[in-house]
């Protein structure tokens, strides 16, 4: 294609990408560099149904003038990024100087909200992603070897966890694993521990969220792998059978190499998806034991009292950076594959 033709061909998607991806990210980044103007406070008498009290209030007239002159707020540079609720640079330094050994240091770092969220986010991503790949692959193999009549219904049932909206799915499971719910009570009976509660300890909550994640995402990997299995050339399989390859050997040396591009594709999507884990934390009311980067952004915008646009912006930018770092190995691999094909 000529460069000129290519330019006109790509222009509409380029415009859309700038409008809907680049500009919003740019505006989020700019917002993250600002904090609100210093509020002018004054003490006034306020009264209500329960009596009067002298209380500090914001002097709206004085503050609104500042706001009108500079609606974005006060420029703070990377101050929001480095403060205690985000990267906590000075707290990390202090913890380093005060800690006698690594375990004390790590417990201090884990006490900071950003790193706590990062710890869960990374653990979740790196446990759920491989499990989803593995489980999806084996379900696909299993379904593929079913008799034709059973395939349709089995595929439909296997896809159900993905069809359920994440928030609804996690809420349903939340009630089922309640100590009086069907799963929770069964577990108590099975393990003979009447006080067992999956919601009570951080470790059990993490395990529960990870199992939920695998349950929810495995159908995606399954359906992609299943589609891939339909394209495995039957000649190669037959040749391998004639050579005396066992079922395992055929899977390992014929099917798997054929599916490598799909494995890369699913890993890419799953790494991105799992890194922004959010709904199950809300659904399972798990924020006391597990938080994620996306949950922090939500909490800054809608969870508590008041909104923190600068904080939410900073965490968003850090999340984007995190996704970029995670995807680098997969992207390098794709690039190498691509270059090899061209040559």
């Amino acid at each position: 294609m000529k460069n000129r033709t290519f330019f006109w061909f790509i222009l509409p998607s380029l415009v859309a990408m700038v409008l809907f991806i680049a500009l919003p990210i740019g505006s989020v980044f700019i917002q993250s560099l600002y904090i609100e103007h210093g509020a002018v406070l004054k003490e006034v008498k306020s009264c209500g149904p329960f009596g009067c009290k002298d209380e500090v209030q914001i002097d709206v007239a004085a503050t609104s003038q500042l706001k009108e002159e500079k609606p974005l707020g006060k420029f703070n540079g990377f101050g929001t990024y480095t403060n205690r609720n985000h990267l906590a640079v000075s707290e990390l330094k202090a913890a380093w100087n005060d800690s006698a050994n690594w375990s004390i240091y790590f417990s201090k770092v884990y006490n900071l909200p950003f790193y706590r969220a990062l710890a869960f986010t990374l653990t979740y991503t790196f446990i759920v992603t491989p499990l989803v790949l593995l489980l999806g692959f084996f379900i696909a193999l299993g379904v593929n070897s079913l008799p034709k009549k059973l395939k349709g219904p089995t595929i439909f049932v296997s896809l159900l966890p993905m069809i359920v909206t994440p928030l609804i799915g996690s809420l349903i499971l939340f009630w089922m694993i309640d100590s009086k719910g069907i799963l929770g009570a069964s577990l108590q009976w099975l393990l003979d521990d009447p006080n067992l509660s999956l919601k009570a300890s951080p470790a059990l909550t993490w395990i529960m969220l990870i199992i939920y994640g695998v349950w929810h995402s495995a159908p995606f990997a399954f359906i992609v792998f299943y589609a891939g299995l339909q394209t495995v050339p039957s000649e190669t399989i037959e040749a391998a059978m004639i050579d005396g390859a066992s079922r395992w050997e055929r899977t390992r040396y014929v099917v798997l190499p054929h599916l490598v591009p799909l494995i890369v594709f699913i890993s890419l999507i799953q790494l991105m998806d799992n890194f922004r884990v959010f709904e199950p934390i809300v659904g399972f009311s798990a924020q006391a034991s597990a938080t994620s980067l996306s949950w922090i952004i939500y909490n800054d915008l809608a969870g508590g009292e008041g909104t923190f646009f600068g904080s939410a912006g900073a965490t968003s930018v850090l999340t984007i950076l995190g996704v970029a770092v995670l995807l680098i190995p997969v992207l390098i691999r794709t690039w190498n594959d691509f270059s090899r094909k061209v040559v």
């Binding site: 009264c47 508590g304 008041g306 923190f308």
Partner: protein, 411 residues
């Protein structure tokens, strides 16, 4: 505009003139944003009867009202002409100058109001309160009796002793519940308990937090002693969960919202045994102090700043209609009403006793919400036993300081 008038006129003709319910307004748009619970539903339904010839009344009752109110009222003209506010949300709106003074409207249309309903800041009426709410103690008299506890606990030390008696009598393993879901609910429990110490949340006249002290440590320890008698899932208990547990008969002592009293005693969702033995009493005191460990809340009417005076007047009149003595009398059990027409009932005994005991209102400070959020997320580690009270409080202080700096409250 023309189309709207045609539609309103059409609706009016179809209603056959019944909508002129004597509100005395001839034109204007009323659009109310509020939280969603039975008492507020009664108020907005009362206001909606004013719809008719030239007057439109729309309502949006949602639990997420806090998240949309600032953006909706910042627009000019504002999307909503009124937000049903409380102690904490009124401050958020006032911080940005989004609600107007009601002095003129009250003088003109507020003749039937009690003086105590006026919420004034710096001499100006900013809201008209219509109901009160507070968390207080719910007890099961039958269980207490079986455990050999002779009276309803008046202090949290008594609550602990009663819980111990119930547990050791083998009546219940987890007799106590508080709304301890991490986040806003947990923050509210700390605020309530800390109120009982008489301590200040901030250094007077400043936005510097002052909970990292002996009062704070004692507060955390008391909360921890209480949740020791709560089900291990306590970190997920919000007010819907505790109400359900109470109605199921799984609890004997709980600190719950007064507005749940009517729901517990409504003859639905619970057994006769639970309902007849439920006693609502004042929030307990503790630590030898006399102030009940609770915060008093009001819900009230505010009017947006960025709307025309005509709409403001129509909205105020319609909402006055929504909190009229007739509406209050018809919905007597739905809330502890502050206006005329209210007869105290069994369901409101707890809130009245808490207020009479001298409980303090939830502080109307611009930075209280920021502290509340910090408390809700930082003290859960302590209650789960993974850090010390001192560490939890210094975390609260650090989280608050960073957030308040971003909000411009601290330099």
């Amino acid at each position: 505009m023309f189309l709207k008038k045609v539609m309103v006129a059409g609706a009016f003709i179809m209603l056959g003139n019944t909508a002129m319910a004597g509100c005395g307004i001839s034109s204007g748009n009323v659009n109310v944003l509020s939280n969603d619970f039975p008492a507020i539903q009664a108020v907005t339904a009362g206001a909606s009867t004013c719809a008719g010839d030239g007057v439109t009344v729309k309502t949006n009752l949602t639990k997420d009202h806090k998240d949309i109110m600032v953006a909706a009222l910042t627009a000019n003209p504002a999307e909503y002409t009124s937000v049903i506010t409380s102690n904490s949300t009124l401050v958020t709106l006032m911080n940005d100058g989004l609600v107007r003074s009601l002095d003129d409207l009250v003088a003109k249309h507020g003749g039937g109001l009690n003086p105590s309903q006026m919420v004034t800041v710096d001499g100006k009426i900013m809201a008209v309160a219509f109901m009160a709410n507070a968390q207080h103690l719910f007890s099961r008299s039958d269980i207490l009796e079986k455990a050999g506890v002779s009276s309803i606990p008046a202090t949290y030390e008594d609550v602990l002793a009663a819980a111990k008696a119930i547990k050791s009598a083998g009546l219940m393993d987890y007799p106590v519940a508080l709304n301890t879901k991490a986040g806003w609910n947990l923050g509210e429990e700390f605020v309530n308990m800390y109120m009982g110490t008489g301590g200040d949340f901030f250094k007077p006249g400043t936005a510097e937090v002052a909970v990292n002290n002996a009062h704070g440590v004692a507060t955390l320890n008391m909360l921890k002693s209480l949740v020791a008698y709560s089900h291990p899932d306590f970190m997920t208990f919000d007010s819907n969960a505790t109400q359900a547990e109470w109605e199921a008969g799984n609890l004997a002592l709980a600190t719950m919202w007064g507005s749940r009293g009517g729901a517990v005693m409504d003859g639905e969702g619970s057994s006769e045994a639970v309902e007849s033995s439920t006693v609502l009493s004042s929030a307990p005191t503790w630590g030898g102090k006399s102030r009940p460990a609770s915060t008093l809340w009001w819900d009230g009417i505010s009017i947006s700043a960025n709307i025309s005076d005509e709409d403001a007047e129509a909205t105020f009149v319609a909402l006055m209609h929504g909190i009229s003595p007739e509406v209050i009398a018809a919905n007597n059990a739905a809330a502890v009403w502050l206006g005329k027409g209210y007869t105290p009932s069994k369901a409101s005994a707890g809130v009245s006793a808490t207020a009479a005991g001298g409980a303090a209102p939830y502080p109307m400070l611009p930075f209280m919400g920021t502290l509340h959020s910090a408390l809700g997320s930082e003290i859960s580690d302590f209650l789960q036993g993974s850090e010390s009270a001192e560490q939890a409080l210094s975390d609260v202080e650090a989280a608050y300081t960073a957030a308040a700096t971003e909000k411009g409250f601290l330099k």
